[in-house]
């Protein structure tokens, strides 16, 4: 299968190092303390954050830091086949864990002892790169909730098909069975906090693929910063400042 034409175009018209169109909206869930919708092409994810609030289960309370919880789910209508997705299946549990660990690494949990932060992410529409979209949405929602963070955390995936490193795989490219690297970074601190890979990839090719994903993360970080600044400006306006 030809995923990159000899003219250097992918199946959806992108060039190998181009990302899909990004779109973000802050404050989609009014009841939540913070919320955001994040889209990468046709992948659409909503995140809502509750907290910091009292720990519901006393036994889990920690005296020196906040408890971060994360629940990931996929809407039944998120993929084309409209199947019922059982809650708490292995994949969801794993992604919940990945998101929780990634977010925990950037939240200044020690500033919020004895409290609890709940992050809910739901995939509304799945077209590859859901993991990254969830993390990006969660970052925006946490920022919206005003939770203190070390840095923004942004994520992007990349892969390698037809011997060409490709940024931000969509569903078709993701299903090709090639290697798939998901990276999460703290852009200002320039640190990698998440690195996952499916399938095998030779070490030298891995370097290129990972570097590409990191570039993608940085581009997303720039976009998220713009969105946050725009949002702050609007809030300032509304408050009449």
């Amino acid at each position: 299968m030809e995923y990159v034409s000899p003219e250097g175009l992918r199946l959806d018209g992108r060039r190998p190092t181009e990302m899909r169109q990004l779109r973000a909206e802050i404050g989609a869930v009014a009841k939540a303390d913070g919320s955001a919708v994040f889209e990468m092409g046709n992948t659409k994810v909503i995140a809502a954050v509750y907290g910091p609030r009292e720990v519901q289960n006393w036994s889990q309370q920690m005296s020196d830091q906040a408890l971060v919880r994360c629940e990931y789910s996929m809407a039944n209508f998120s993929t084309g086949d409209r199947m019922r997705k059982p809650k708490g299946d292995r994949r969801s549990t794993e992604i919940s864990l990945v998101i929780r660990q990634t977010m925990e690494a950037c939240i200044l949990t020690h500033l919020l002892p004895r409290s609890q932060i709940d992050i809910f992410v739901q995939v509304l529409q799945a077209d590859g790169g859901t993991r990254s979209a969830c993390i990006n949405a969660a970052t925006l929602a946490l920022a919206d909730a005003g939770i203190p963070m070390r840095d923004l955390v942004t994520s992007c995936s990349s892969g390698c098909l037809n011997r060409t490193p490709l940024l931000d795989l969509n569903y078709v490219e993701d299903s090709a069975g090639g290697p798939d690297v998901t990276v999460g970074i703290l852009p200002t601190l320039d640190k990698v906090t998440l690195l996952q890979m499916d399938a095998k990839l030779p070490t030298d090719a891995f370097e290129d693929v990972m570097q590409l994903a990191i570039e993608g993360c940085k581009a997303i970080a720039n976009y998220i910063k713009e969105v946050l600044q725009e949002n702050t400006k609007q809030l300032e306006c509304r408050r009449g400042l």
Binding site: E2, S5, P6, E7, L9, L11, D12, G13, R14, T17, E18, M19, R20, Q21, G41, N42, G80, D81, D127, R163, N170, V172, K200, L201, P202, T203, A205, A219
Partner: protein
């Protein structure tokens, strides 16, 4: 990074399941015309004042025309490419090759992703209409974009599309009218004839009253085939036509678990060799329909030619009539069937010549001719030509277009001329084309992968810790005389403890050929070097083949070594594998090596080494034979070629010396050791070589012959067969060799495979009686050995395993390609020898001795040991009544006896024959054998 592009999101609905796909429309897709001021001209290919936009059917049908350099400045739209790819992958590869060829002016325009040429499906629009519209939109865009300076011409044969285009103000023409406008009549021959236009074909159609009759059964529609396959009425498989009898084919069917035999063109129902077909079994009482005892066949298209004696079952004609050895005969056990439909065509172009015919009145007019392919498995093909006079004495290439039910032969069109019939150069090229061998010079990208010349071992190589410095060892090579691609060298040192250190040093090709480079891709495609009588087609470029890799004498070379410590009884004590640097002290020929060993006065160290090695080799060989390895025999011929004219001067059998066997023995041992090592480390992705045990049925001809002469052969195992072959001693010295030759041609050839695809018990190499075997010792001329070198290096931890080894299907297809290339290389070598045999005997009619190897109804097949050829000798004149003449055949005894009992010939008997080249038809010389 996205800012430079304009985005429109489009969604696309697909089938019943709704699928939403994004399409990013761009403004950075250039038009490719050099005259354009707005686009990036660095990618421009189109220079003429008229540029062509071709539609899908023009590409699919007229690819031969497009490949002609007369057609250029063509825009290939991505929508066309996609459609072509879906319909015919081989045409797709050819159009892609045109687009990437820097000498041609074909430009791919990704109209799908251009913001101005993207089209969305309209309501109730069929995919075809959508594509046609997309092509028109793109053509119109080009017209507007390039303005008045350039004429943009849409080439389409679709009437509706052409009409709409004209309405929309687009210049549109059919391919015929465009080609006519070029005023080059020979180009018109390249045009594919539409199947419906066969009205004026009558001139060639034989004038029997039945001519308009339907000759073939209708092919079943695909839906019926699919359901038939599901219900088990039909069987799917690839049709393989018997190379020696084009009226007989086999379909390997998984559902039956056996080959289904298809007899005759009617049952083959227009299927070609290599087509994937659906077959229906015939009722069992029709299974034994054909008797191909006689040499000639029903349709009498061609008779058996004299050909090179087969060296394995793969070369030999298959026996069709199974003479049942036991009493309960009459029940044929091979299922036969007929083709009901063709699932996938394997049509490509074929080389051959036109059947001789009188020139039609009036030159330059259209003539209809019949093309006869060199590949006998292919039926004759009808073509139309305007240059008959020019083509009659030429070898040409023809492509197949269609085959309808009314015509006996398929329709095709002329592609190009190879050269004059009978010209050695032309005939050699035919051999290459016929066997799909790429003999083009290596491209500049490939040559760029070579190390700078002149090359020599560098201090870096010497300092490399993975390389053992073996330059002070007394290493030497033994090869055929004049060998320039020396793959292997040997050494043998006596150790103080009485043992020997024996080393096999193999050219370190993988030090220069790296995975993923154009050089490696090319070598992997070629698979093997091809040895023709007058030339060698290398797998690797000449500097590597003859110099850098070749382990020549007195120069330092890089090697990959297998070093054993062996006891004087040739027991292996230890095995080491290492990359090394060697300096060979002598490149001996087999004859030189033999002479040294035989000359008792010589006591120099090199000769002593040779003798020691020979002693060890003899023990190893004996042990191998005791284990059941077969000493097979084939009749290899050697030509002496005139260096000026390339004509053969002399012909004779290849003499095998003890020195050959000595080298062979150590190569076998090295291959076995390496096979064990790589399989131990990479049980799932090793490339090995196996030789399946011959089935009872394959040995049938041998057993029948043996029975006729009262020889008892035990074929229950390779060991038993080897022993009975040893016991088969007749009254003349050649008898044993002849039996071995007959045994050899019953075996199939060994094949490469990926270890993950089979189970351990299937790895067995029957001929060598070895549980494991691979090819390691000839990396200069075989790609399999290159692969094995990489595996061995990885097993030692020197280099990491290239990523392709993690891809099992890829590895399997590599092995399949190697088998295919290997087979073709052998076929080409044989064809080349046959060609030169013919040239040799053209001026030298010869009387010689021959042995009868097979009895036929109207004569017998003889084998001529001196020249390694085989062919028919007729007792009754051809054209006479078959088998009903003065002779009758005694099948049990394998004898043909004259009715009055005065004369008889039996199998393996010696006869004197006369060999002469005759020309029954002009330009069609052939070798004829006749009894003296």
């Amino acid at each position: 990074m996205l800012k430079s592009n304009v985005f429109n999101k489009k969604t696309r609905n697909n089938r019943i399941k709704k699928e939403v796909r994004e399409v990013y429309l761009r403004d950075d897709i250039w038009c490719g015309a050099s005259s354009c001021k707005t686009c990036d001209s660095s990618v421009a290919r189109l220079t003429a004042s008229t540029i062509l936009v071709v539609d899908t059917n023009v590409v699919l049908n007229q690819i031969d025309l497009l490949e002609n350099p007369a057609i250029d400045d063509v825009v290939v739209l991505s929508v066309v490419l996609d459609e072509v790819k879906n319909k015919n992958l081989s045409v797709y590869n050819r159009i892609r090759a045109l687009c990437s060829n820097s000498l041609r002016k074909f430009y791919v325009f990704s109209n799908k992703f251009h913001k101005d040429t993207h089209v969305d499906k309209m309501d109730k629009e069929s995919p075809n209409d959508l594509n046609d519209r997309a092509i028109r939109v793109a053509t119109q865009w080009y017209q507007k974009h390039l303005g008045d300076t350039t004429r943009v011409l849409l080439v389409t044969n679709d009437r509706e599309n052409k009409r709409k285009a004209t309405e929309e103000g687009i210049f549109a023409e059919t391919i015929e009218s465009y080609v006519k406008s070029l005023a080059q009549p020979s180009l018109l021959d390249l045009l594919v004839q539409p199947a419906s236009e066969d009205v004026n074909m009558e001139d060639v159609e034989d004038l029997r009253p039945s001519k308009r009759k339907l000759i073939y059964e209708e092919h079943k529609p695909m839906s019926e085939i699919t359901s038939g396959l599901r219900r088990g009425i039909y069987h799917q498989g690839k049709l393989r036509v018997n190379r020696y009898n084009p009226f007989e084919a086999y379909v390997g069917s998984e559902s039956i678990g056996d080959d289904i035999i298809i007899y005759g063109r009617t049952n083959m129902n227009r299927a070609f060799d290599g087509d994937i077909v659906a077959v229906e079994l015939l009722p069992q009482d029709q299974w034994h329909e054909e008797k191909s005892l006689s040499i000639a066949d029903e349709d009498d298209e061609d008779e058996d030619d004299v050909h090179l004696a087969p060296s394995s079952a793969d070369d030999a004609p298959r026996t069709t009539n199974l003479v049942t050895t036991d009493e309960q005969n009459s029940v044929p056990n091979r299922p036969s069937g007929r083709v009901v439909g063709i699932i996938k065509r394997n049509w490509h172009s074929y080389c051959g010549s036109l059947e001789p015919m009188p020139m039609p009145a009036g030159s330059g007019s259209i003539a209809h001719a019949l093309f006869v392919s060199k590949d006998r498995r292919i039926p004759k093909i009808r073509i139309q030509t305007r240059q008959l006079g020019n083509l009659l004495d030429k070898r040409i290439i023809v492509a197949v277009d269609s085959w309808d039910r009314q015509s006996r032969y398929p329709f095709g069109h002329y592609v190009r001329v190879i050269g004059e019939i009978g010209d050695t150069g032309t005939e050699s090229e035919m051999v290459l084309i016929d066997n799909d061998i790429d003999a083009r010079p290596f491209s500049t990208q490939i040559l760029a992968c070579l190390p700078p010349l002149p090359w020599s071992v560098s201090s870096k190589d010497l300092a490399n810790p993975i390389r053992l410095d073996l330059r002070d060892l007394r290493v030497f090579s033994v090869d055929p005389p004049g060998c320039k691609d020396i793959d292997d060298a040997l050494h043998c040192t006596a150790l103080p403890n009485g043992n020997f250190e024996v080393g096999v040093h193999i050219a370190d090709v993988t030090n220069f050929v790296h995975p993923g480079t154009p050089l490696d891709d090319e070598a992997s495609k070629r698979g093997t070097s091809v040895y023709l009588v007058e030339r060698r087609i290398d797998m690797l470029p000449k500097p590597l083949t003859e110099d850098i890799c070749s382990l020549r004498a007195d120069v330092e070379r890089l090697a990959f070594s297998v070093i054993w410590e062996m006891t004087p009884e040739a027991e292996i004590v230890s095995t080491r594998y290492t990359k090394s640097i060697i300096k060979s002290c002598a490149a001996l020929s087999y004859v030189e090596a033999q002479a040294r060993m035989d000359d008792s006065r010589l006591m120099d160290p090199l000769t002593t080494d040779l003798r020691n090695m020979n002693t060890l080799a003899k023990i190893m060989r004996q042990r191998r034979i005791d284990r059941g390895a077969l000493t097979l025999a084939s009749a290899e011929v050697k030509f002496q070629i005139d260096t000026e004219t390339h004509d053969p001067l002399d012909i004779g059998m290849y003499q095998i010396q003890e020195a050959n066997q000595m080298v062979e023995e150590f190569m076998l041992a090295a291959n076995v050791s390496v096979a064990e090592q790589i399989l131990r480390h990479f049980p799932l992705c090793s490339l090995l070589r196996r030789h399946p045990s011959p089935t009872k049925e394959m040995l049938e001809p041998l057993l029948r012959t043996a029975a006729a002469i009262g020889l008892d052969l035990d074929v229950s195992s390779s060991k038993a067969l080897a022993d009975s072959l040893d016991r088969a001693v007749g009254d003349d010295p050649y008898f044993n060799k002849l039996i071995r030759i007959l045994a050899t041609r019953c075996m199939t050839q060994a094949v490469y495979f990926c270890s993950g695809d089979l189970t351990l018990s299937e790895f067995h190499h029957y001929g060598l009686a070895a549980p494991l075997y691979t090819h390691f010792t000839s990396p200069i001329r075989r790609y399999a050995d290159v692969v094995v070198h990489r595996l061995l290096a990885a097993s030692l931890g020197i280099y990491k395993l290239p990523s392709v080894f993690q891809d099992r299907p890829q590895l399997t297809s590599t092995a399949d390609n190697l088998n295919y290339r290997h087979r073709n290389a052998q076929m080409a070598s044989r064809a080349s020898v046959e060609l030169h045999t013919l040239i040799y005997f053209r001026k030298r009619p010869t009387d010689t001795e021959a042995r009868i190897v097979k009895i036929r109804a109207n004569g017998f097949i003889v084998f001529v040991p001196k020249f390694g050829i085989e062919g028919p000798v007729y007792l009754t004149p051809r054209g006479g009544q078959k088998g009903s003449g003065d002779w009758y055949v005694d099948e049990q005894q394998q004898k043909i006896v004259k009715m009055d009992g005065s004369l008889s010939y039996s199998v393996l008997q010696t006869v004197q024959i006369h060999m002469e080249v005759v020309e029954p038809q002009p330009n069609r010389p052939k070798l004829q054998l006749a009894l003296i």
